[in-house]
């Protein structure tokens, strides 16, 4: 069991740790910090104490040793028979992990039989592709996929199993992990191998991105994680790489699936936040709903996605799928152009650390400027209009 304690000699009674506890478990007793039974050992207070007076011993839960397992698996999520970009990023990351730990990398494909896609997976870093090519798997199915994945894991016993943290990945990974009674870390932004134990170090943002937690799955297998898209780097395709394709003959006829009646893609004005390299974001600072048209045009001209703060969505200026942040979607474009966005912690939590942030705001005290790579203190609508004009001029010259 974990243990947390205040080192009385070191505690100066400065009270800094009190507000740091998300659970309100720290109070003052005899001029020293006191931790109550409400503590869940999250560790949020530890880095806050400048006097290193809080000691947290999170001993690994007493469990039996991990079962035998080997290899890194990547879930090769496909859409319409094409592998999703995040899968290539996972393969690139898996190769980096494999350098620290000799490991075969296997891409798991569920869907139609697509030999070209299999070759691409090998070119991008897979040593092997295991494919269950069944017509019922052509459409991504939240009920059917986890059953198939569970069977494959039980047959081959991988050590690590990674999924892209797409909407679908974040639905099937927890269901699969639950069926296997193993651990799963959500939305990781960093992966590494612990040199001593050889375990997968899974790092993810917590508490709205204010903390980075590194999580281990010590004794259950596989060690599973979903990984945020656009954070890891894909390797250049190398079609001279050798790899094998195993077509898995799995009878899935008895497995229950969903009754998907229809699917529709977002319309032309879709937020496009998943794949866009540039995202244009708007906050309440743009002034009114009438200005949205300007930013739609700007986003279209840039080939960019269109994002909004919660305030803008709550005002009804844009629909919910555009909302970026803690209660919306998370994005990781190369560049984020933030117009009239103040930069609340909740909004910033939806933006990857790696993104180049250009903030345009009239208010010089806007918190977003502290996090921006480029700060433009100006009327955002005027800058957006000027930008649109210049881009249109450029396209016309082409």
């Amino acid at each position: 069991m974990s243990e947390i304690r205040i080192v009385a000699d070191k505690c100066t009674g400065c009270r800094q740790c009190l507000p740091a506890c998300p659970y309100g478990a720290i109070s003052m007793r005899a001029k020293k910090a006191f931790i109550s039974a409400d503590c869940v050992f999250c560790g949020a207070c530890v880095p806050v104490c400048r006097f290193e007076a809080i000691e947290l011993f999170t001993e690994a839960p007493a469990q039996e040793g991990a079962p035998a397992s080997s290899g890194i698996w990547i879930f090769a999520e496909q859409s319409d028979g094409k592998v999703k970009p995040v899968v290539l990023e996972l393969l690139g990351e898996a190769r980096a992990l494999a350098r620290k730990k000799t490991n075969k990398i296997t891409a798991i494909w569920l869907g139609p039989r697509e030999p070209e896609q299999f070759r691409a997976l090998i070119a991008q870093g897979a040593d092997e592709v295991i494919a269950v090519a069944d017509p019922r798997l052509a459409q991504r199915d939240e009920l059917l996929y986890p059953q198939v994945l569970t069977r494959l894991v039980e047959t081959y016993r991988p050590e690590i199993f990674l999924f892209g943290a797409t909407g679908f990945g974040r639905s099937i990974a927890p269901r699969t992990a639950s069926a296997l009674d193993t651990g799963l870390t959500a939305d990781c932004t960093r992966l590494d191998i612990d040199p001593q134990s050889g375990l997968l170090l899974q790092t993810r943002p917590a508490f709205g991105g204010n903390l980075l937690a590194t999580i281990l799955c010590r004794t259950r297998r596989p060690q599973m994680a979903t990984v945020r898209p656009k954070v890891m780097r894909a390797l250049p395709a190398d079609f001279s790489r050798q790899g094998s394709v195993r077509l898995e003959n799995l009878d899935i006829s008895g497995l229950a699936g969903l009754e998907i009646k229809s699917a529709r893609a977002n319309k032309a004005d879709s937020p496009g936040l998943d794949s866009a390299e540039i995202v244009v974001g708007v906050g309440r600072g743009i002034g009114s709903a009438r200005q949205i048209a300007l930013y739609r045009r700007l986003a279209a001209a840039l080939g960019a996605g269109l994002a909004a703060t919660r305030a803008v969505v709550d005002l009804g200026w844009l629909e919910y799928p555009h909302q970026v942040g803690q209660t919306g979607v998370t994005i990781a474009p190369k560049v984020y152009l933030a117009f009239g966005i103040s930069g609340s912690v909740q909004h910033m939590a939806g933006l990857a650390e790696s993104t180049h942030l250009i903030a345009v705001n009239k208010d010089e005290n806007a918190p977003i400027f502290a996090a921006a790579d480029e700060r433009v203190r100006a009327d955002c609508n005027e800058v957006a209009a000027a930008l649109l004009k210049q881009i249109s001029g450029e396209s016309a010259r082409e």
């Binding site: 974040r170 560049v335 000027a386």
Partner: protein, 271 residues
Amino acid sequence: MSMEIVVCVKQVPASTRVKLNATTNTIIREGIEMMLNPFDAYALEEALRVKAGAGGRVTVISMGIPSAAELLRYALALGADRAVLLSDKRFAGADTLATAYSLAAAVRKLGACDLILCGRQAVDGDTAQVGPSLAQKLGIPHLTAVSRLELSSQRRVLCEKMTDEGYQEIELGLPALLTVVKEINTPRFPNLEDYLRTLDAAVEIWSADDLEVDHARIGYDGSATWVMSTTATERRKNGKEILGPPQEAAELILGTLRQMGWQPASEGRRE
């Protein structure tokens, strides 16, 4: 038809108060206010709407510290019929797997259940894992990110859900678990009378001994994952200041975009 609906809710820090201290690089929280996870408010509202249409009963369930009972009373004020809080030191420190396992035992103890609604994710952990994991433990189907639902016929529900590409319409047999997004409804507020009426309403507190659980699979010791370290982060960059009139600023921005690999649009470039 009469529906037995269970809503899973979580108490989270009212993170609107979260700020970073610029000098010590730490989180500042003025007070330690807790609130209902925003996504769970949509789940609760949807449950109340389904009940209003089909009849039945709404049970809210939470796992947390004793003070979470307050949250459940709020749900009772809004119209929930029964409130259960799993509160026991032995549940503390649970990861999503151990949480789902414990909740599954509680749902089984409640008896027959047609529909389980959860928020898409909790805003403190942001994992979105407990819903799907719980559905698996109960052996029922689930859908995530549901934006519309209607009871289609006897023991079936028609759902619209958000996907990475758009929307899907899926019909499900009950029982099923759905996690919902904000698009689904606008949560109500309690009226004063209901609020006062439920201030002292009874919330059933269940301990680990009240559930049929393997104690080695709950709480911290029963968790599969383990937080090795936590470090504070801060987004602070000494960004470049761009001055000048809008045209000049726009030119400089465009320069940056080009540096980052952006090219003027040609046909079909738009993704």
